[in-house]
């Protein structure tokens, strides 16, 4: 067929279409969809048999509580608190057992190297550097993850997460963003990089960027152990895991408020616009499939995150050991750097070593606490550390921590820049250096401001 006759044919077709659908109105589209639906309805009516309605509508009963005016928000808080409490209370004992076991292994390794007449630096670099950092990461992170992820996957599997979006949507609408952002935030509890990838479910590019830039304010699993340990330090001797849970829930709520506030500012300034349309399905609740929950949470999440942490912790342990053991003018590089950062750290209610730990922890938030412990121990007198009490002695006894130090470190951990993996993911998703840089700088700015204000206010009032 020649080109000319093709375009004549097309013209005729268009003319006919225009006759049937004058002015290209929406009526044609609508009647197409209507016809499809009535045909589908007819077929479904012929072949689908429905069972009679059950006597008790559990979906309705559950939703009447979980999304009700009075119990909707309290039940969300309660669920969050229960999950954290199970994690905090349950992780203590296995963490201790793992730490004892792994540090027993460290002694055996040292003995082996001694027996082999290996030089001292081999023991230092491999055992005190790499092995010890790995041991901390595993004993600090594995138990909370192995408890938190299955609990969270359980809620996900039962179909509760869309109810959170339903409850909170109005807040997100007021912040000028999309209700689905609460779903991407929920993913962020597991891992911020996963949360950023989940932002693909938000269609509007403006709202997607806001969700990506603020996902960091949800504490990810790599930061929970830090928050939990610090909360434990704060309430030690005063309250139990219950008190620590309250503190962690408070920190998470502060993160959510920050998310909304920063989203609001972004949608009024850099990413101006009106919220796009929102339709959300509330699927029926399902009986959780325990087998699937365990495989998904343990293999896909826990082991995945742990492997990543181990990959980062091994070189980090080596670097820390080198920094702590190479001396310039009689003082280690680590101490030099920490001293140099100290005035800045003090201004934010922390110290130079903590800032140093956050800087070195950029590849993965999981290793911030191990780095801090290693740096402190390298300059202190303690060599064994297997309990919260020992941590308390190291931080408070040897390095002069107050409650303000712990609070500021928790706030900084909650708010500071996302980890290297998350930043890399943001770059891949947004294809823009500008937004990747802002994804690090906005949270950093918020973290510095909040810690500065808190530290200065508390000191001014003479509370700490």
């Amino acid at each position: 067929m020649s080109r000319g006759s093709l375009s004549t044919g097309l013209n005729e077709l268009l003319k006919e279409a225009n006759q049937l659908n004058p002015g290209g109105s929406l009526r044609l589209n609508d009647s197409m969809v209507s016809t499809i639906y009535s045909r589908a309805e007819e077929i479904a009516g012929r072949v689908v048999t429905r069972e009679g309605k059950p006597n008790i509508d559990w979906d309705k009963k559950l939703d009447d509580i979980l999304t009700s005016r009075f119990f909707g928000f309290p039940s969300m808080l309660l669920l969050l608190a229960v999950i954290f409490w199970i994690t905090v209370a349950g992780a203590n004992v296995p963490s201790k057992i793992l730490a004892t076991g792994l540090f027993w292994g460290q002694e055996r390794l040292t003995e082996l190297l001694y027996w082999l007449h290996a030089p001292a630096w081999v023991n230092g670099f491999f055992v005190e550097g790499i092995y010890r950092c790995l041991a901390w990461v595993v004993s600090v992170m594995l138990p909370p993850m192995a408890i938190f992820f299955p609990c969270f996957t359980l809620l996900e599997d039962m179909g509760y997460l869309p109810r959170i979006a339903f409850n909170l949507d109005n807040l997100f609408k007021k912040a000028g963003t999309h209700g689905k952002q609460s779903l991407t935030m929920s993913m962020g509890f597991g891992c911020n990089a996963a949360g950023v990838i989940a932002c693909r479910i938000i269609e509007s590019p403006r709202e997607r960027l806001i969700a990506m830039l603020t996902n960091n304010f949800v504490p990810c699993n790599g930061r929970f152990p830090t928050l939990i340990a610090l909360a434990g330090l704060l309430v030690m001797g005063v309250a139990t895991s219950f008190g620590a849970t309250i503190i962690v829930v408070g920190i998470v709520l502060f993160g959510i408020v920050t998310t909304l506030a920063v989203s609001w500012v972004l949608s009024k300034t850099l990413l101006k616009g009106v919220p796009s349309s929102f339709t959300l399905e509330l699927p029926p609740y399902r009986k959780p499939q325990i087998g699937r929950i365990i495989t998904r949470s343990i293999f896909d999440r826990t082991l995945f995150v742990l492997r990543r942490a181990v990959c980062v912790a091994a070189p980090a342990g080596a670097v820390i050991w080198l920094l702590a053991n190479i001396n310039i003018g009689g003082v280690s590089i680590l101490a030099h750097a920490a001293n140099w950062l100290d005035p800045f750290g003090q201004m934010l209610g922390m110290d130079g070593y903590i800032i140093m730990a956050f800087l070195l922890g950029l590849p993965a938030n999981e290793i911030v606490m191990p780095i801090l412990i290693m740096s402190y121990m390298a300059t202190g007198s303690m060599i064994e550390l297997d309990s919260l009490e020992a941590l308390h002695r190291l931080f408070v006894g040897e390095h002069g921590w107050t409650w303000l130090t712990a609070v500021c470190m928790m706030l900084f951990s909650l708010l500071h820049y996302p980890c290297g993996t998350t930043l890399w993911t943001i770059f891949k998703e947004s294809c823009s250096f500008k937004w990747t840089a802002l994804a690090a700088l906005i949270p950093l700015g918020v973290a510095i401001t909040v810690c500065f204000v808190v530290a200065q206010t508390v000191r001014l009032l003479g509370w700490a």
Partner: protein, 92 residues
């Protein structure tokens, strides 16, 4: 279409209101969708075509959005969207 006639006379037994104003627990049928573009497309995809039965079943504790039963599924619409759907509502 009979829809056009209905919108003219205004007798209380069968009036056209916005989906947002449908009281909880009540059912109605879709009259027309005033949204355009992607939103309209999305609503049609959900099966919100004229004649579809919708039931208002619950409202978010924050007052917005509201959830509706449409063709066996429960769908939540924000106020803005539920304002763009007109329904035939019989009685108070």
């Amino acid at each position: 279409m009979c829809v056009m006639e209905n919108s003219q006379d205004d007798y209380p037994a069968n009036k056209i209101i916005r989906l947002w104003d449908l009281p909880l627990g009540k059912s109605a049928t879709v009259n027309s969708i005033q949204a355009e573009g992607i939103t309209r497309r999305r609503m049609l995809d959900l099966g919100m075509v004229p004649g579809t039965i919708v039931e208002a079943i619950r409202v978010s504790p924050a007052g917005d959005p509201k959830a509706y039963r449409v063709r066996g599924a429960v769908i939540a619409f924000r106020k803005e969207e539920a304002h763009k759907i007109l329904i035939n509502f019989k009685g108070e």
